[in-house]
């Protein structure tokens, strides 16, 4: 059956196009390793849930600032494993702030205790890591690799004893050959949501014996017409059920009943906010780069890839209504690459930066940190209270924090650095899009399917 008379291979038949799209597993099916040099990882930010510390990752550097002690943190590594040596792609605090995880292109997943800060475990992945999540009870760290597989590391009980770094993680589920962009546990740890570059969001039941695999799919949330870049669970007070929010390359943020997979609302953030294309023209299609939501969903902040505007959304969960409540415009060249917030404060932390930045005369990769304060739980408050972009001297931790987290950013050269960062980020994002060989077709499809975005 391997070769059959009927199945004569015919050189004429679309072999050229097949060859063009045949991306072999080993050549990096989704990932063309040759283009890796040109690939730039956006800078990331994560804020401790009780605002005890804040972390910024850029390239292989992990920078930490202790907000309580008002001092920088030097990282101790007891795990015996190697340090990060390539771009960090994901960082995350656990729900109670005791754990932190970092992972990326060096195929390392590092798990840290935060009080005091030290690395408790380094796990080697088989492939580059694209996303991490920590279960809310702190018992598990999940991570996803470039092949679309999700792996689990147990931290409690028997699993904790095998704390040697060679102990491999266990594969629990997979998206077939699509890079997973985000992983999130539901706040009750009953579900794990995974989003990919093929516009798919999968919600899987996270079983008690989860190291045996997570095979029962609760739902697929399908509706995005481009890659899904970010996810957040929201459990509004007074609602029996939780919801899932997602942002995408299709420039929308969507609200899902993740139990059924039903799309409840679509907010065309790009069209509402407007954003600048690299050539300076307005583009309603700017991809959503990050989304940050308070656990009750009352505050939802959204960043767009080519935009210096952050959208604050207002969500009426029970009536399935998602709209832009407020747009905050930042300085001209500021495009946040990552958003973060704690569970306490009404501050949105933002960072802009990228790995592989050509920065002559600078030892460290520059990033630029910004904070918007005065976010409101009730978006109608924005009528009389504008959110405020903090000046550098108003930032918690002040100059000390900035010099720690921004690296060797020289504010006198700030303009040049920011422009370079912005350009690199744009390049990286464009790479992320064109890496898919079918972007053209997908664009066509997006055009054709524009009606679907009207679905409520």
């Amino acid at each position: 059956m391997e070769e059959t008379a009927e199945f004569v291979s015919n050189a004429g038949e679309d072999s050229a196009s097949v060859a063009a799209v045949t991306m072999d597993v080993d050549n990096g099916l989704i990932e063309d390793d040759k283009s890796k040099d040109a690939e730039v990882a956006p800078a990331l930010i994560a804020v401790h849930p009780f605002e005890k510390s804040v972390a910024v990752a850029v390239g292989f550097e992990l920078r930490l600032f202790d907000l309580e002690g008002n001092c920088s943190v030097s990282l101790v590594d007891d795990s015996g494993g190697p340090s990060h040596s390539d771009a960090i792609r994901a960082i995350k605090f656990g729900a109670n702030g005791r754990l932190f995880a970092s992972a990326g292109d060096d195929k390392l997943v590092k798990i840290w205790a935060t009080n005091p800060w030290h690395c408790i475990r380094t796990v080697s992945a088989e492939k580059r890591v694209s996303a991490v999540a920590i279960s809310h009870n702190g018992h598990y760290v999940a991570f996803a690799d470039k092949f679309g597989l999700v792996w689990l590391i147990g931290l409690e009980g028997d699993n904790a004893k095998q704390s040697n770094n060679d102990k491999k993680a266990v594969m629990i589920l997979g998206h077939y050959c699509s890079i997973i962009t985000r992983l999130e546990f539901s706040p009750d740890d009953r579900f794990i949501a995974s989003a990919d570059r093929d516009f798919k969001i999968r919600v899987t039941v996270f079983p008690k014996q989860s190291l045996k695999g997570a095979h029962e799919i609760q739902s697929f949330c399908l509706g995005h017409t481009d890659f899904v870049s970010c996810l957040a669970f929201a459990y509004p007070s007074g609602c029996a059920n939780g919801y899932l929010l997602s942002g995408s390359g299709d420039s929308t943020v969507r609200l899902w009943d993740f139990i059924s997979g039903v799309l409840l609302a679509t907010c065309e953030v790009g069209a509402k906010v407007g954003s600048l294309e690299p050539n300076g023209t307005e583009d309603a299609q700017s991809p959503i780069s990050d989304l940050c939501a308070s656990s009750d969903g009352s505050i939802i902040a959204v960043a767009l890839q080519y935009s210096n505007r952050v959208a604050l959304l207002s969500c009426d969960f029970s009536n399935g209504n998602l709209s832009v409540a407020k747009v905050v415009t930042l300085e001209e060249n500021y495009f946040p690459t990552s958003l973060g917030s704690s569970s306490l404060s009404k501050c949105l932390w933002m960072v802009m930066g990228a790995s592989n930045l050509p920065m002559p005369g600078s030892a460290q990769l520059p990033t630029r940190l910004r904070i918007i304060s005065g976010l409101r739980k009730d978006p109608s408050d924005y009528h009389c209270h504008d959110p405020i972009i903090l000046e550098d001297n108003e930032v918690p931790g002040g100059q000390k924090l900035l010099s720690e987290l921004q690296g060797s950013l020289d504010v006198t050269k700030e303009e040049a650095a920011l422009a370079a960062a912005a350009a690199a980020v744009k390049a990286s994002m464009r790479n992320m899009m064109i890496k898919k060989e079918y972007t053209l077709e997908r664009r066509e499809m997006r055009k054709k399917n524009r009606n679907d975005r009207k679905i409520k």
Binding site: M1, T4, S9, D14, F147, C177, I217, T225, E441, N449
Partner: protein, 258 residues
Amino acid sequence: MSDNTGTKVKGQSCRLPRKRFYRARAHSNPLSDSHFPIPICPAEFDYSHHYPYFFPSGGEDHKNGSASPRKVRFADIGCGFGGLLVSLSRLFPDTLMLGMELRDKVTEYVKERILALRASNPGQYENISVVRTNSMKYLPNYFGKAQLSKMFFLFPDPHFKEKNHRRRVISLQLLDEYAYALELGGIIYTMTDVEELGDWMRSCLEDHPLFEAVSEEELEADPVVKLLTSATEEGQKVARNGGQTFRAIFRRIKFEEE
């Protein structure tokens, strides 16, 4: 409606299309990406295009008394030239079935075959259709949770090399998606003439907590089982050559934590 198709087809391709005009590459790489349209979600799947007899445009599903619209219930994954669909169509004339095939020319052949059968047998073969798609990537775009009662994986490409096992259409991870699409009690039929692949498919199914083997007695009684070898083009070929087949037929069960 079927009159329409009839006149259009008449004189032109009323005869069954001949396979040799639809030669194709021996195997496609399921990892390569798509150049075909994919429904955004199952609700976007165009039933009136595929099953016009059951979904006359503008009208309701007139063959269905109940309130909820009829949906595809059987999926033939990697349907090849469509022999199984054609036989199943006669056995279950009221059940909608969809073949999924990666190769363009082969899909075109099946489309023509179905249109020709519909034209020369008015009122029949209206319940089968085919899409060109990569089932390994896009199955959830076509079928919702628990929508299917039967899934067929017959004589799939073997992908012998260890490093290519990831391309196999049956794997522990993909079975999650098949379990999602199948209703409780739904049946997954797999068959191959490659012993190693047969072992692989069986062990994947045995290791998966959402499937259990269907008993031999039940298989005896299931009229579909006989078609697996007699109706598929590949099955017929194996039979002609006196080859052996290996089957693994499992049922979707509820997830029970020990």
